[in-house]
Assembly symmetry: C2
């Protein structure tokens, strides 16, 4: 990917040309979103100077954003060799889903034992909004609401460590979905699952709630192509740069 193309890939709106400079968090978000949007495909090298100029910040800001992104395993950051968009492996992806099952089961179990009526109301409201977004065909909004649903469950469970861990997991999940989803299938949280989950939690039925959550996550994982065979994206990684990004770069960057 050339510098000019990367510039196009990141400049979704007028960024970095305002009065107040962007923070490293802003850079984090922009880069993260660009990766999710496939505007920065896995393996893409991220150089400090071009990014700094693009966002109108100093290299120090880019560097901070890089360490945050690397902490979340969104990019690989190797000393003296710079940053590149991460390549989730099949193993990593499976590990991630296993961890989600573990953590989110614990979250749901704890929440079931201490949920309040007003929390149930809030959860129902969220499911409703999510449904509305789906019905409207606004997939992007629906996806965001779906992730937020999982976040809110974590917060309501009242264990700050669970919440932290879940945050790390949901940050990484879209990357593996992106890398391994079967293009034929649409990938999203089946919304009925969320509704069922709230119902089980409201009923105080922790066994069913946990089961629903586990199925929910297994379904999501099942939509991915996590067989041992090398996926095209991984093949590309082996050879240093990805064919996908070259073939599709122009189209993807519009």
């Amino acid at each position: 990917m050339t510098a000019a193309q990367k510039s196009t890939a990141l400049r979704t709106s007028n960024i970095g040309k305002d009065d107040i400079p962007l923070s490293s968090d802003d850079v984090f978000s922009h880069v993260y979103q660009a990766i999710l949007d496939r505007r920065l495909p896995p393996g893409t090298k991220l150089r400090e100077v071009p990014l700094a100029e693009l966002f109108g910040v100093t290299r120090g800001t880019i560097r901070k954003a890089f360490t945050q992104l690397a902490n979340q395993k969104v990019i690989d950051l190797i000393p003296n060799r710079g940053a590149s968009v991460a390549y989730p492996t099949v193993e990593e992806s499976r590990d991630l889903f296993a961890a989600r099952r573990t953590i989110e089961s614990a979250i749901v179990e704890q929440l079931t034992s201490r949920v309040t009526k007003s929390q149930i109301r809030e959860l129902n409201a969220m499911v409703k909004r999510e449904n509305a977004a789906y019905d409207k065909g606004d997939t992007r909004e629906a996806l965001k609401l779906s992730v937020d649903f999982h976040r809110v469950l974590a917060t309501m469970a009242g264990n700050s460590v669970y919440a932290d861990f879940l945050e790390q997991l949901v940050t990484r999940t879209p990357l593996v979905v992106l890398a391994y989803r079967d293009p034929a299938q649409a990938t999203a949280c089946a919304n009925q699952d969320h509704q069922d989950l709230v119902t089980a939690i409201a009923a105080g039925d922790s066994v069913r709630a946990i089961n629903t959550m586990r199925c929910h996550l297994c379904n999501l994982e099942g939509q991915l192509d996590l067989k041992n065979s090398t996926p095209s994206s991984e093949l590309a990684a082996i050879f240093g740069l990805n064919a996908v990004s070259h073939r599709n770069a122009k189209r993807n960057l519009q």
Copy 2:
């Protein structure tokens, strides 16, 4: 704590006066160890310039170490207001142990299903070494070996996310143990638990293995004073600086 006292608190050996300068990881380790040794009590303000001079590094290195320490919640890092040794609250501590039960149950369960004979041998060897250290009265070494035992379990389970999470948890655990342990009781992993755990894993009895692990962690938590009543350390935090550090500073820093 005065600058001179803090200098004493950190300078365990001749550090930072060598030819090659220390890395931020080295600074991380030194500060972390000083906190575990109570040479830097909770609430202690950590200033960049004195630390940089002490370790013979630049402020940038200290800063990097700070962000790592803050990520692990070992210190609090507030923009424009610097760093101070973290104060684990009762809630945080309970959350931490709950998370350990969750994660380590999952680790043990997975490991039981796929453990090899040579892994069992390695685990038995570790327990043996741990026992030896206890018998020799080398509590510090025994404690290190005990933590390593948990780490090795995580690695052997073969899920990188579990291993990551466990690493975060074991980094924080000593801090809460330090803050809340009943001074009357010695706090350590009961070694027999480790032996029992290996036996259960070797037998392929995942239910017993999980139970043993949960009991093991509950025992550890039970040795702490995590009642809702405000511990002296927390009281001190409320009033901005800790009485403990003032009263005991000189004695602790020898």
